[in-house]
């Protein structure tokens, strides 16, 4: 009985087989996120003044970068039937480290931040892979301890950062495209390549699909799990670094707060089931974009923030419900 965490998702004896579904329904089911984004874009183009300006579209894309990067790592973890609640705290740790090492040069500071992310990821991964602790509990402990450790490092203070290199990293452009967006595009490409064509990518999906079978087939289950959590940690740390660079300030109390929920939402809405064994990288990016668009629509129409939360809640449930018969979700 190794697949305990997914038991909720397993079909029970009385449950009918997945309905064949009409062509239209299947299409909606497979492209629900794109459809929702399309509807929101159309609504905004028609009813939101100044929505279709280059400046605004650019802002929307720049704002989605941190969540999208974290969600990429989360998608890898979720594909192995795991979950990583510690990503927000990892962002805080990376952000807290930047000002401490800035004296040795910006790149070293960034490197130390990323290494810290890898270390925290390795801790998560070891707990899950070698000690057999359930991912949600292991990463919950790290979530609690990690943010506090970041606050200890920074002495609980917000530190302003004036560094031209970090300034360029956070707010610069290459041929008119924001640097952060370029980084996201490169990372997304790497993850797609990893998942589609690399050995590790095939292994992590196999482990998520059926861990016992993966082990019996001789796959290095533990090493792969460790790798996945380290990747998630590094990506989260990078998101923390970029966030700090963009704001020009390291704020470990608030950076990445509750981002684990947004990232999980993006992953799940994008079509990666929590029960593992499948990963949709582009879907994850679209899921992150959808959440950003909802927030932007609500803000630009001066609707209350509480409404944004309730709309997001509705969209999560609907998105998962329509996808649930697609095998496993």
């Amino acid at each position: 009985m190794t697949e305990t965490a997914s038991r909720e998702g397993l079909p029970t004896p009385t449950r009918p087989a997945a309905p064949p579904g009409s062509g239209l329904f299947r299409r909606v089911r497979n492209h629900g996120v794109s459809l929702a984004i399309g509807v929101l874009l159309l609504f905004n183009l028609l009813f939101t003044p100044n929505f279709a300006t280059v400046g605004n579209l650019r802002l929307q894309l720049v704002q989605v970068v941190p969540i999208a990067i974290v969600a990429l790592g989360m998608a890898l973890v979720v594909a192995t039937e795991g979950i990583d609640l510690s990503v927000g705290s990892v962002m805080a740790v990376a952000a807290a480290i930047i000002p401490l090492y800035l004296g040795y040069g910006p790149w070293l500071a960034v490197a130390v931040g990323l290494v810290a992310g890898a270390v925290v990821g390795a801790l998560n991964g070891s707990l899950v892979a070698f000690c057999g602790v359930q991912p949600i509990i292991a990463t919950l402990g790290v979530l609690v301890a990690g943010r506090a450790a970041a606050l200890v490092l920074a002495d609980g203070r917000l530190v302003e950062i004036f560094d031209p290199t970090l300034q360029t990293l956070g707010n610069g452009s290459v041929l008119g495209v924001p640097v952060t967006l370029v980084i996201l595009a490169v990372l997304a490409t790497l993850v797609v390549v990893t998942v589609r064509w690399s050995v590790v990518g095939r292994r992590l999906v196999a482990i998520g699909g059926n861990r016992a079978a993966a082990r019996l087939a001789g796959l290095p289950v533990r090493r792969t799990l460790l790798t996945v959590y380290v990747l998630s940690g590094v990506l989260a740390a990078l998101a923390g670094v970029l966030n700090t660079a963009r704001l020009g300030a390291s704020d470990p109390s608030f950076v990445g707060l509750l981002i684990e929920l947004s990232a999980i939402t993006a992953v799940v809405v994008g079509g990666t089931p929590l029960s593992g064994g499948r990963i949709r990288v582009i879907g994850t990016l679209l899921g992150a974009l959808l959440m950003q668009l909802i927030a932007a629509t609500v803000i630009q129409h001066d609707l209350p923030d509480s409404l944004a939360r309730m709309i997001q809640a509705g969209i999560i449930v609907v998105a998962v419900y329509v996808q649930r018969d697609r095998g496993g979700a």
């Binding site: 909720e8 029970t12 057999g132 609690v144 609980g156 016992a212 923030d305 449930v317």
Partner: protein
């Protein structure tokens, strides 16, 4: 290779493991209490401090009791922190018309949220993590909407029956503590001595077998989420009565604290195994350790969080290690 788990942990060849799971948290709690009493004397073991810890723990115990039912049934409820805040806000809103609406309004609304959780999980079969993540957002949104985006704080009049009962002390014990003890006692009987309680264990152990045995799986699932939401609501109402106000910002992270209490108490997140006494000890342990760190005084509250997180990891590591050694029937990857 499906292992059917029964309500009791397997005994064969698992003496140490089952002992650790059943009595681990209470034993550690006793140890911590003794150390605290020796190290800090009156400041820790004095009546004033005990009263503070008991009051502080009572809300967590209420929420964690509901969470225990949910987790034993094989689910999880992330929405309790938000429901807790929503109940407080609604109690303060309802208090403008009197004590009865102040209690009835939050119980009704939060009960409906629990019902929504239960129906989506039990009937529509969506993963509990996702459903309750959505209601976490929804309930928090509702709490903010009810208090005009947090700009208006409804105060509960001091002369209301609710406030008087909520802030009263009976024989030196505050009302929230009494309520928590009462709820715990009733829950203990329900989980261990009723058909419903046994069904919760059976469903968590193996939903397939429970279904084949003819247990009303969907109905029991719905019930545990309603129960969890109602207990979170009771905790929220009690906090509102204690503080004479309803704040939409409270309770963030409460769900994680409650899950931690349940897990430290030896309940397995995979369902089917767990005890309420363990949960009680787990919740008290979390609060007592926080209190001890406060007693040290020189440590910042950040260190308190570091210790809480590390402590949670240690407990879970030890439990996982022990139960892995003890349970030969379960394959651990």
């Amino acid at each position: 290779m499906t292992t059917v788990r029964t309500g009791r942990p397997p005994v064969t060849g698992a003496g140490l493991a089952s002992l650790a799971r059943r009595a681990g948290a209470p034993l550690v709690l006793a140890l911590v209490l003794v150390i605290g009493a020796v190290a800090f004397g009156e400041g820790f073991a004095g009546p004033q401090n005990i009263r503070n810890v008991a009051l502080d723990s009572s809300y967590l115990v209420l929420i964690a009791v509901g969470m225990t039912f949910v987790v034993i049934s094989g689910g999880i409820d992330l929405s309790v922190g938000s429901v807790f805040a929503l109940a407080g806000v609604l109690a303060a809103v309802g208090a403008q018309w009197g004590s009865l609406p102040a209690v009835a309004l939050p119980l009704l609304v939060c009960g409906l949220i629990g019902l929504l959780n239960g129906v989506l999980i039990g009937r529509a079969r969506i993963a509990p993590f996702i459903v309750t993540l959505a209601t976490l957002l929804f309930a928090r949104g509702l709490a903010f909407a009810a208090s005009q985006e947090g700009n208006k704080v409804y105060l509960i009049p001091g002369d209301l029956t609710l406030t008087r009962i909520g802030q009263a002390r009976t024989l030196g014990v505050s009302t929230p503590v009494l309520v928590a003890v009462g709820v715990f006692a009733v829950a203990l009987v329900v989980l261990n001595r009723t058909r419903f309680g046994q069904a919760v264990y059976a469903i968590g152990g193996s939903p397939e077998s429970a279904e084949l045995m003819g247990l009303p799986v969907a109905r029991v699932r719905v019930s545990v989420y309603v129960l969890s939401a109602l207990l979170a609501a009771v905790a929220g109402i009690l906090v509102a009565a204690q503080t004479s106000s309803g704040l939409p910002t409270i309770g963030e992270g409460r769900e994680l604290e409650a899950i931690a209490a349940v897990v430290i108490g030896g309940t397995l997140l995979s369902g089917g195994i767990g005890t309420l006494t363990g949960t009680l000890a787990g919740a008290l342990l979390l609060k007592v350790i926080q209190n001890l760190i406060n007693q040290v005084g020189t440590l910042s509250s950040y260190y308190q969080q570091v210790v809480s997180g590390v402590f949670l990891l240690l407990v879970v590591l030890i439990q996982t290690g022990l139960s892995r050694r003890g349970r030969v029937d379960e394959e651990v990857p």
